[in-house]
Amino acid sequence: MAEIRYELMRPQQILAARDKAPVAYVPLGPLEWHGPHLPFGVDMIHAHCMALAAARETGGVVVPALPLGTETYGAPEGLRNRGFQGHERIVGMDFPGFPLPSLYIEESALGVIVIEVVAALKRQAFRVIVLVNGHGGPNHRALLTRIATEQSEPGRVAVFLTGALLDTQPRGHASRRETSYMFDVNPDSVDLAALPALPAPVRTFEFGILDHPTCAAQPAPDFSICPDQDPRRATAEEGRDHVLREGKSIAAKVRDALRAVQTA
């Protein structure tokens, strides 16, 4: 199979890939707390896997993942859904008492660098530039959405945001789905023994693990993770299957975008 990882491609390979499918994927995600059982790089690794899966279908190139992402203080309602009072000042997943903060960066710093990378890919005559996001932070997604809109040039270049919370369902954080990705990509990086043994409940505020109902403002009364999204039930097979489906979903959008810019 032809190489699609940009950093490993020679100029003529990049040109050939671009001439066939002028699509560039930019995966990104912060180095962030994902419970005690998962590594800090889950979001960027997941974004990279989704981008590779999509590019295998569409062609084009995949830029190396940017290990970058942003967060801000959680809104009171979201905090209450996670088992807090609502008045705490909590940035992203850095819950009180956690022993290590995440490597979030300032929102505007992230914006500036993403714009620079997108602008450079436009200079290389890529026509569809796909921001493949691995992170759910609301301000992170809003920023990337705005950049995609601003950097698109109707009829000439399409820039769009995809990935986490767009092609991944259900929502969650460090739950069964993200755990299954890491089981597939790098099983040594997962340690389920860092969580209590089943059937003890895993509580959101205790570990920084969120399930879909919690993200959708319907947490369990004791703020524990629902059984079907419990990370302790994750397998490598389901992780592989999720990423393949996510890749297909992204590829379908890319084909639409490509058709739109090419017919214009």
């Binding site: 040109l15 180095l31 022993p99 660098i113 040594d188 860092a194």
Partner: protein, 266 residues
């Protein structure tokens, strides 16, 4: 062996590594033209190899590589060394006529991002933060030098710049040194057949293969690459040996930085 790649480490592994050796490496290099025979990621991959091998020697953590780097218009004197007239507007190694530009980013954008990461690592209580650079641009090196100085907290945190042009044996671009590195670490990406046969001299302007003396202001009269730095003479063995040398020197610097912090009672 313990995991040192930050993105694959769980919180307790990062904390354990930091408590043993509070060192974090940030490898950085742009996606840039490296002649027709090498891939665009050469600088970033080289920075990562240096950081990873040094991290294996010292302990600590190695961040995922930042695929970012900057350039600006080359000044007239350097342009003349490379074989230009001196009045051209040439950004880095994006020489006129090349079919693809590099993915350089604006200098201040790079500065903001690196500073943000350094500050994040300081919040995580890393005490020695090494910017491992894979790119030779003067403005990139001066940016990182300034950042390292400004973000160091004397007696408490040392931020230092190392890597290309600091511990590397070669100071050129896409020549013997970088080609040997790629042969050693990513052999499948190198295509020496994309260059002319060995009997043909490599002209700087044609491929942007630059030897060390050219970069230092001493080009050959015909602006070709010196035989001893010709990429067509590269070997994987040389590349492995170079990275081992570079990583060892970085590790020695790290150990000195740690000792100085320890001596300062930090």
């Amino acid at each position: 062996m313990d995991e040192i790649r930050y993105e694959f480490m769980r919180p307790q592994q990062i904390i354990a590594a930091r408590e043993k050796t509070p060192v974090a490496y940030i490898p950085i290099g742009p996606l840039e033209w490296h002649a027709p025979h090498l891939p665009y990621g050469t600088d970033m991959l080289h920075a990562y190899a240096m950081a990873y091998e040094a991290g294996r020697e010292t302990g600590g953590v190695v961040l995922p590589p930042l695929p970012l780097g900057t350039e600006t218009y080359t000044e007239p004197e350097r342009l003349r060394y490379q074989g230009f007239q001196g009045h051209e507007r040439v950004m880095g190694v994006d020489f006129p006529g090349f079919p693809l530009t590099s993915l350089y980013v604006e200098e201040s954008a790079l500065g903001i991002i690196v500073r943000e990461l350094v500050r994040g690592l300081k919040r995580q209580d890393f005490r020695v933060i090494m910017l491992v650079n894979g790119h030779g641009a003067p403005n990139q090196r001066s940016l990182f030098t300034r950042l390292a100085t400004e973000e160091s907290d004397p007696g408490r945190v040392i931020v230092a710049l190392t890597g290309f042009r600091f511990v590397t044996r070669y100071r050129g671009h896409a020549e013997l040194g970088e080609t040997s590195f790629m042969l050693a670490y990513h052999q499948e990406t190198v295509d020496l057949a994309a260059l002319p046969p060995e009997s043909t001299p490599l002209r700087n302007l044609e491929f942007a293969v630059l030897d060390g003396p050219t970069c230092a202001g001493q080009p050959l009269p015909d602006f070709t690459v010196r035989a001893e730095q010709d990429p067509r003479h590269a070997t994987a063995e040389r590349g492995k040996d170079d990275v081992a040398y570079e990583a060892h020197h970085i590790a020695l610097a790290v150990q000195e930085h740690l000792a100085s912090l320890h001596g300062a009672g930090a």
